[in-house]
């Protein structure tokens, strides 16, 4: 990689990494608190994961193994480009296997396979402020966080129930971290919220455009907000994955034709492929005998 000799390891210069690491340490010390940081221009547009990339660049080392997922998939544009970016600028090992990765940068999913101690999950966050659409003034939301005034968050859930008869928020579902800060878990489906609770992995959140970093240290209490008579529930699916037959994983709908045909498959491609390799089959998976021919 001689033509890249002018790049520092993992693209960012050491001073910038140091600044980001300080923000990360502070974020870990105050779980759920949004730490401002001097977000840099990255060689990609805002909204493509500039926050996540900066956090990853600040924590990655030469011995790390990186996995990047976009909506659970390892093979979509965003995931492929970010993976290639770190291969080029840091020359680190990359993988698609959840268990083999030490750092997993993710956009809007948490892998189905349980994370382990020592793994770090880096989220790309578009809007870190959970109160944003309820209270537009940033000065006021900061004050509300400081004084723990979170009644407004429940006003949103109340509105959901009043309009739809149940809490209709399905992603970016607000959580309370360690009994203190209300946090936006980035637009992950609420299906993934329970996985954040007491996770053995370190979870870091980077919002590049909004210039905020926040974190959930390992084994931290993460509670999804709800009402006593309308408790928090995760999505359920009426059918198993069409490829691997998994029940209880998060499914994506894939349109098959223009006549309304569709199939539901695991959004976590690594999980799905792993199951298929172990011989699990869904009703639409290729017959192994035919595929071999």
């Amino acid at each position: 990689m001689t033509e890249l000799a002018t790049y520092n390891f993992a693209y960012l210069d050491e001073q910038t990494k140091r600044m980001i690491r300080r923000a990360i340490l502070k974020a870990i010390a105050i779980p759920g608190y949004q730490v401002p940081f001097a977000s840099r221009e990255m060689p990609m547009p805002y909204g493509w994961g500039t926050g996540g990339v900066q956090v990853t660049a600040a924590v990655i080392g030469p011995d790390d193994t990186l996995k990047v997922i976009d909506q659970g998939a390892d093979d979509t544009t965003n995931a492929v480009s970010i993976r290639a970016f770190f291969q080029k600028t840091a020359n680190v090992a990359v993988t698609t296997r959840t268990a083999a990765a030490t750092i997993i940068q993710t956009r809007h999913r948490i892998p189905e396979a349980a994370l382990q101690t020592g793994q770090t999950l880096v989220y790309q966050v578009p809007i870190p402020e959970p109160l944003r659409f309820l209270e537009p003034r940033e000065t006021e939301t900061r004050k509300m966080h400081a004084l723990e005034e979170y009644g407004l968050m429940h006003v949103k859930l109340y509105e959901d129930i009043a309009r739809h008869g149940h809490i209709a928020t399905t992603y970016a579902y607000p959580v309370k971290v360690e009994g203190r800060y209300v946090m936006d878990p980035s637009p992950t489906p609420k299906f993934d919220n329970p996985k954040m609770h007491n996770s053995p992995a370190l979870q870091l959140f980077g919002a590049g455009r909004e210039k905020r970093i926040y974190a959930i240290p390992p084994y931290t209490e993460v509670v999804s907000l709800d009402f006593e008579d309308h408790p928090f529930e995760i999505q359920t699916f009426s059918q198993p994955c069409a490829l691997c037959g998994a029940k209880g994983s998060y499914l994506d709908e894939v349109i098959l034709d223009d006549k309304g045909g569709s199939m539901f498959v695991c959004s976590d491609t690594d999980f799905c492929e792993d199951r298929q390799a172990k011989g699990h089959r869904g009703h639409l998976s290729a017959n192994p005998a035919e595929a071999a021919e």
Binding site: E149, V155, Y158, A162, R163, D226, F227
Partner: protein
């Protein structure tokens, strides 16, 4: 009425640079008492009200409030957290323009329920039942509970704002021209409603108005302001029927007779 005042104001002043907002205002307010502050535009009524309600820091003087534990506390020495808690539980503030006091993009039920949720109520059914009850008390039909205030008329919005403020059973309510901008028949109904609520709940209230008829109907006692000073205070009927200060005499004689 209790023998201890609810609110003690002493030598309160607010200056905007060299201009006077209000100067040297001293009075006491007792539980269950409705005090009207009247005067022409620019006389410092709203400045005074905002200073009392901790929405505007005064330049000098002190405002003491008797908390629910019976202790007098200087409002400007409370921590911000305590002050904000007081404002959303023990106090109410009714704005002249309901859009300032309501969340226009959430339903009427959520508007009323917001304070309950802010003090930790987490049972949807109970919150909704309380909201329904309060909408009934301010004469808003039950089937409008899921409508946004944007779909409400001016009078309904004002009644909704009142319900939203009273749901936590406050002891003191500040009202800034509560009937401003409403036509006379709607105004009459709102005044009727306010009068009933104030006497049923034993609320203390400070009502700022330029409309002497509103003061006559609602208040027990009134203060007349002119150029930032209190020129006359006394029982409402006495001040209106037998005004002593020259300015008050002018004010009372300016009322149009139909």
């Amino acid at each position: 009425m209790s023998d201890l005042p609810l609110l003690k104001v002493s030598a309160l002043s607010k200056f905007y640079g060299s201009r006077i907002g209000c100067q040297n205002v001293t009075f006491e307010l007792w539980p269950g008492e409705v005090l009207a502050i009247v005067g022409e535009s620019g006389s410092g009524k709203t400045t005074l009200l905002n200073c009392l309600a901790t929405r505007l820091a005064p330049s000098a003087g002190c405002v003491e409030y008797r908390m629910r534990d019976g202790q007098f506390r200087d409002l400007y020495r409370l921590s911000e957290a305590e002050r904000r808690f007081l404002m959303r539980t023990d106090w109410g503030f009714v704005h002249q323009n309901p859009a300032d006091g309501l969340r226009m993009t959430v339903s009427a039920g959520a508007n009323v329920g917001e304070r309950l949720m802010a003090v930790g109520d987490r049972h949807y059914g109970k919150i909704r039942a309380t909201a329904t009850d309060w909408l009934g008390r301010v004469e808003i039909a039950e089937d409008r509970i899921d409508d946004q205030p944007r779909a409400f008329s001016g009078g309904m919005r004002q009644r909704l704002q009142i319900a939203r403020n009273l749901v936590t059973n406050p002891r003191l309510v500040f009202m800034d021209e509560p009937t401003g901008g409403l036509d006379v028949s709607v105004q009459a109904r709102l005044l009727d409603l306010l009068r009933g609520l104030v006497s049923d709940l034993g609320l203390a209230a400070i009502v700022v108005t330029h409309d002497l008829a509103v003061a006559r109907l609602l208040s027990h006692r009134m203060m007349v302001m002119k150029d930032g000073h209190i020129v006359e205070t006394g029982l409402t009927d006495r001040v209106l029927d037998d005004p002593q200060a020259p300015y008050t005499q002018l004010l009372v004689s300016s009322i149009l007779q139909v």
